[in-house]
């Protein structure tokens, strides 16, 4: 070996060692594939805002306490352009090239599944803030943890509350979008409604590309349903509600999953949004005292409103809660090793501004009393749970 070659080898070994040392000592790297452009751009930006709020608070406090030393956090984000294949590539890149120790999942059940598959291979814990379909969590992934509760929890308390307040309601019409989450919410409602003694007078799915719902809505009108239950994404729900008004299709209860949880829904519909009900995973009026970087629901709410000039919705809250849960697990494990943090997450029982976070055996946050909401005079009112109730269910005129 020539002296020159030895020098080069030594130097590169030294450099590699220094990089590894710097990484171990300095920051904790979290990778976040986000849909900042494309179809899910809105949702991706919501996650980004929430992650950033958490990041600022954590680093202002000196970082995460890992076994006695505080380490700052670095968030590495990529725009995966709402494209499933790109999400997968970005997750690979984050793990293999950017050497992140943890990942967050993208928006929605479908894309979460893809990223979770990659993370599982490398043993990287992945925090999902916007996946609620159990079909994502029943794949046996050990490193996937989600802050939303299973879909079934949303439906049960709604049937109980509504039938108690309007006992004359016996006939329900269900119309759902042919897509992972909306389909699951429609199917769950059908099963639970029949069990509760309601008669399902209409049950139908509409395809993803539907630009018109008048055929279904004309038939729902003829079915004499007293409760109309629609699932879909905001764009579908706006169109359905508008066409319902156009065609004179109405009922004492109109539920749209999860329209009223989004400000966009109320803005686009104006008076037509009034008295539409929904269930959601979180609402700012559910106040919790928390042992996290925010301290309380109110503190999170106030900071968010000051920054974004509008109310946060469940996507924001769930995204911030996902990183809080990760932080708690790292602190509990006293390490950033994937397997150790994974075990800490599995046994985590934390109270956050978002509510209690305790992951079940499949990695989903355990169901609790999820809020039922209704738009009343242009504002969202909480109907349930009792502790934070603001109003009674009002019939749609």
């Amino acid at each position: 070996m020539t002296p020159k070659l030895i020098r080069t080898a030594l130097l590169s070994a030294l450099l590699m060692g220094a990089t590894a040392l710097a990484q171990a000592q300095s920051t904790i790297r979290i990778g976040a594939p986000l849909a900042l452009t494309g179809g899910l751009a809105d949702e991706g930006k919501k996650q980004q805002v929430a992650y950033d709020m958490w990041l600022k608070r954590v680093n202002a406090a000196g970082g995460i306490n890992v076994g006695g030393t505080r380490r700052k956090v670095e968030l590495i984000t990529y725009d995966y352009q709402s494209d499933e294949k790109r999400a997968q590539q970005m997750a690979e890149k984050l793990i293999t090239q950017d050497k992140v120790e943890f990942l967050t999942a993208p928006f929605g059940s479908g894309h979460t599944k893809v990223v979770a598959g990659v993370a599982e291979r490398y043993g990287i814990p992945v925090m999902a803030s916007a996946a609620s379909s159990e079909s994502v969590f029943d794949q046996g992934y050990k490193y996937l943890f989600g802050t939303l509760a299973p879909n079934g929890g949303l439906v049960d308390s709604m049937i109980r509350t509504f039938t108690a307040q309007m006992p004359t309601v016996k006939k329900i019409a269900i119309l759902g979008r042919e897509d992972v989450f909306p389909r699951s919410m429609a199917a769950t409602m059908k099963a639970h409604a029949e069990k509760a003694g309601l008669k399902v007078v209409h049950n139908e799915y509409f395809p993803v590309g539907a630009l018109d719902h008048s055929a279904s809505l004309s038939r729902i009108k003829a079915s004499g349903a007293e409760w109309i239950y629609i699932t879909g994404y905001t764009k579908d729900l706006i169109l359905v509600r508008k066409q319902m008004a156009d065609l004179g299709t109405t009922a004492p209860i109109i539920t749209m999953i999860t329209g009223p949880a989004y400000r966009e829904f109320i803005d686009a519909l104006g008076p037509l949004a009034n008295n539409v009900s929904s269930a959601t995973w979180w609402h700012p009026s559910s106040q919790y005292k928390a042992d996290d970087v925010f301290g309380s629901t109110k503190a999170f709410y106030d900071e968010f409103v000051a920054r974004e000039k509008h109310d946060p919705d469940y996507v924001h809250a769930s995204a911030a809660a996902a990183l809080i849960a990760l932080q708690k697990a790292i602190e509990k494990a006293g390490s950033t090793q994937g397997a150790k943090v994974r075990d800490a997450l599995a046994s985590l029982d934390a109270m956050t501004f978002y509510g209690p976070v305790k992951f079940g055996p499949n990695g989903m946050n355990a169901g609790r009393d999820l809020p039922i909401i209704q738009v009343q005079s242009g504002k969202v009112a909480v109907l349930y749970p009792q502790a934070v109730k603001q109003a009674d269910l009002v019939a749609v005129r």
Partner: protein, 287 residues
């Protein structure tokens, strides 16, 4: 009985909107032999312009119709004149790639400027009740305007100087050049008219439909199907194709369920492609 009448009315309303979506696309494809991938984004752009004018300055969308039409015409004219004309005589894949790239730029710019939030002009114009058959006024108005615009385009193509030039270029580009028609300019004007129709359609849609960048591909797909059903390059073709698709989706949606409505429309397209590639009323040479 009134349910059946309602199904037909629903189908016609939807069909007029579909015709409006397709007419500009069909014209550009038929005359220029350019598959304009920008078409869906042009529609959404028109919708957004109407929405923001209404939101910030309370301008009625029916006033914006004129402004958006002029704006989109200029945009289309300049794009064709400056860019597409350079490759317009190349094989269709070249122009397709160019408009595809332009569409990606416009689409992502709109995502950055406007977000993908679904937005709608929440005007309530009421509805007509004809013996139990409901006709929403805003859709009716949109339908009438769509028909009127399509009619004007038809007249322009038939009886104005530039219209005759467009038709001449469509029939035989080389002969038209020999007759002294400036083909490049005719192309640019045609592309401008295509963009104008798309923008105007977007304005009408913003009243009845939530506008978001997510639907650009969907609208483009509809335009494709309608052109194949109705026949390329002619105004009546787009009108017939749009109304046919609207009626089919409405009837199929009612009797076979919403899931099958789009399927039936696509099946019809396949059958037509095999048996009558010129479309229902298309001319030979434009299959």
């Amino acid at each position: 009985m009134s349910l059946y009448a309602q199904i037909v009315v629903n189908g016609l309303m939807l069909g007029a909107l579909y015709a409006c979506i397709a007419v500009g696309f069909s014209l550009v494809w038929g005359v220029l032999n350019v598959i304009n991938m920008l078409h869906g984004s042009f529609i959404v752009l028109g919708g957004y312009l109407a929405y923001f004018a209404w939101l910030h300055w309370q301008v009625s969308p029916f006033v914006m119709l004129l402004a958006v039409s002029v704006g989109l015409f200029l945009l289309g004219f300049l794009l064709q004149y400056g860019l597409v004309n350079r490759v317009v005589s190349q094989p269709v894949l070249t122009t397709l790639t160019l408009t595809f790239g332009l569409d990606m730029i416009l689409y992502n710019l709109m995502n950055v400027w406007f977000d993908a939030t679904p937005r709608r002009i929440s005007l309530d114009l009421g509805r007509l009740d004809l013996n139990g058959v409901i006709v929403p006024n805003d859709r009716l108005l949109a339908m009438l305007l769509a028909l009127a615009m399509t009619g004007v385009l038809y007249l322009v193509l038939r009886s104005s100087r530039i219209g005759r030039a467009i038709v001449a270029v469509r029939m035989d580009r080389d002969a038209a050049t020999l007759m002294g028609i400036r083909v490049g300019r005719v192309y640019a004007i045609t592309f401008g008219i295509g963009a104008l129709m798309a923008g105007a359609c977007g304005v009408l849609m913003s009243v009845v439909f939530p506008i978001t960048t997510n639907i650009t591909g969907l609208l483009l797909g509809k335009a494709f199907v309608i052109c194949v059903i109705g026949g390329l390059g002619t105004v009546p073709g787009a009108l017939v194709g749009g109304l046919a698709l609207g009626l089919i989706e409405s009837v199929a949606g009612n009797f076979l369920g919403a899931q099958s409505a789009i399927l039936v429309g696509s099946l019809l397209m396949l059958v037509l492609l095999m048996t009558r590639p010129t479309g229902l009323i298309g001319k030979r040479g434009y299959q």
